[in-house]
């Protein structure tokens, strides 16, 4: 900004034709055009959602009649087909267990770590923070083969020597949690740093241990952001496909997105587009529901990440 002391007072420039057009352009035309486009975008998103819902209750004949034709009757069997024959019921159970287990592990180790890193100011702490930040740039693709090899070796070992049965999804939970940790630690560290130190100082003066301070004072304060970060992590786990494709060879043991992909690839046999869209609704529905219920929190959590 220019310094005011040596500058003459700023007067409104005369209303030339040029200024009039510039003002029309900049104040009315372009902003309103953009506003129209934004509302069009909103309408498209909502329309797409409704269209998917509508298509999911159309029979195959209706769908082939035309994409915009209204259904002649509600084909609930699409959902039955998706749930039973395409294995979405089993996949939903798998996904729920996967999301829950990963969340417990990730939040269980990340929240304390973030707090610890936020409160320590020595060089080791900042080095560790940078170490975690590097994990943000480390793509899953780099570790896929090691995960695959370890998962199959451990599986074979457990089956041969220990329990006689093993589930590759255990490896899925463990490895996914490891890859989700850098982001949660990174974001939560920034958050904890933003909290004033005075909160704990009182407790520490009273001689409380760090764990007690953490549990009794920091956690309640941090509950909001921690919840939102947990929701974001949970959504990420719900949508995770790549790791599932590599680590879980058995189609029946895979999560929902992989089940949808599988159904999509087998479409030529039955052309059951209705069931496919029912599958889409089953996959996407819970996320939309969570979003409708907790939307504000989800958005907060997402923004926490970037406002480092």
């Amino acid at each position: 900004m220019t310094s005011a002391s040596t500058h003459t007072p700023w007067h409104r420039p005369p209303e030339t034709v040029w200024r009039k057009t510039a003002r029309f352009f900049g104040d009315i035309l372009v902003p309103n055009l953009i506003k129209i486009c934004v509302w069009a975008w909103v309408a498209f998103n909502l329309g797409l959602l409704l269209w998917v819902l509508m298509t999911s209750v159309k029979s195959t004949r209706d769908i082939l009649l035309g994409p915009f034709a209204l259904p002649s009757h509600i084909e609930w069997s699409n959902y039955a087909t998706a749930w039973d024959t395409a294995g979405f019921g089993q996949a939903t159970l798998t996904t729920l267990v996967f999301v829950f287990s990963s969340l417990v592990i990730v939040m269980g180790i990340s929240v304390p770590a973030a707090y610890g890193l936020a409160r320590r100011t020595d060089r080791a702490a900042s080095a560790l923070t940078a170490y975690f930040a590097m994990g943000l740039a480390l793509p899953m693709q780099t570790v896929l083969i090691p995960y695959f090899v370890v998962n199959t070796s451990v599986g074979q070992f457990m089956i041969d020597w220990v329990t006689g049965a093993w589930d590759p999804r255990i490896g899925l939970v463990v490895f996914y949690s490891a890859t989700a940790t850098p982001w949660t630690v990174f974001v939560l560290t920034a958050f904890f740093r933003s909290l004033p130190a005075s909160l704990e100082e009182a407790a520490q003066l009273d001689g409380a241990s760090p764990w007690l301070t953490f549990r009794k004072i920091m956690l309640p304060v941090a509950r909001g952001p921690v919840t939102t970060i947990a929701i974001i992590t949970g959504i990420g786990a719900w949508n995770e496909t790549l790791l599932v494709l590599f680590l879980v060879p058995d189609g029946a043991q895979r999560t929902l997105p992989a089940a949808l992909l599988n159904m999509y690839y087998g479409l030529q046999y039955t052309s059951n587009w209705g069931a496919l869209f029912a599958g889409v609704v089953l996959l996407v529905g819970p996320i939309v529901a969570v979003f409708l219920w907790l939307g504000r929190r989800v958005i907060e959590g997402a923004t926490l990440g970037a406002n480092k």
Partner: protein
Amino acid sequence: MRLSRRNATFMAIGTIAVATIALSGCGQKAGGGDAGAKAGGSITYLTSWPADTPQAKIFAAAAKDFTAKSGIKVDIKQLGNGGAADVINASVSGSGPDLFDDAPDHVPAFRKAGLIEDLSDVLSAPADGESAKIESDYPKSVISAASDKDGLAFIPHTILSGGVWFDAAANPGLASKAPATWDEFKAELDKLKAAGKTPIAQEGGNSSYNVLWFYWLMLRSHGPGAVLNLSKTAEAWDDPAVLAAAKEVTALQPYFQSGYEGSRYPNAQNAWAQGDYALDLNGSWLAGEVKSVVPSSAKLSTFPFPTYGADSKSVEELNVLGWTVNAKGKNPKGAKEFIKFLVQKKYIEKIGTDALNIPARSDVEAPASLAAMQKAVLASDATTGYMDNAAANAPTWYKDVLLSLDDQLVFGKITPEQFVAQGKEKTAAYIKSGTP
């Protein structure tokens, strides 16, 4: 403080333990792990047929009857979309099936991984409830199609071939007299176009269908091995027949439906089944796949790919599908018992009646639309395997060279001359790199 840290660790371990128990309970239900050394118990059948296909239903019903009769439980699992790689990966990780679906183009990979169990004892035994040896139930050509140089790889249940499909009800002229030569075929295409119909349904989104034109023209030109030879030496591409075939493919483009490059599989074949297009060059399985969208008034039928040129070779494609017993499975004996049960006439018959495919047994009839094809395939003495065995023996060349170049040719992105030149170049590079 120490106590609390332990609590957190315990909580994590406890969750993993709970998850393990829960997941292992779900995952290994039908005793995939307890088959052990007993011949009874259970087997795992990894099928590539989605659960709502007729084939899956036939096999599931057979599995139920089998369990009722023999007491061996059959756990039917669905294969993921990774195909053969998933079977190999699952077997390596110790959770492989006892029985899985197989086809000749996957056999080399399975052999290399050591997954194919010797089936000669199954061949010399009778099917359940029948008296004749299983080997005698099948035509010799079918058995050899299901074998490679190391012996029988799988017990077949379906024969696959190819031809030109049409609706006999909408095109009675074709039903009474199908075009026999390539020139007659082109004349027929012109006739259809003049009558305002779209002559050919082309599944642009499916490369293995796009290649069928070039494939059959080459087979007609040079007989079995014509396409496979193109993967063996780069000089094979200099043969004038290759350029001629490529030119014919380019000449077909005006007869495809508009927008065929952007047609998502299986939309084109569904539209054909509903009568929007006249012909579809496809495999013998087409009627089975479009069963749910075909109107009841239609009468699907096939005629063989026309002869081409003065010296046209009468080649038939004889491909088979069947079941392989996993040599690395837990219960190969139980799997073999199941196969003996599956190949009974009453189940193989259903491949024809329910799944609308050509059954593999010699004493079972194909559906009316495929009867002529069945006769021709079994009577021919010049047969070749799926895609002239190129998909099996040169898989990387097949996918990366042939299919990708052919797609560009079919979409009109390259000229026939460029097709030949690039084919020669890429084949030379492929041979040099030594990949399978």
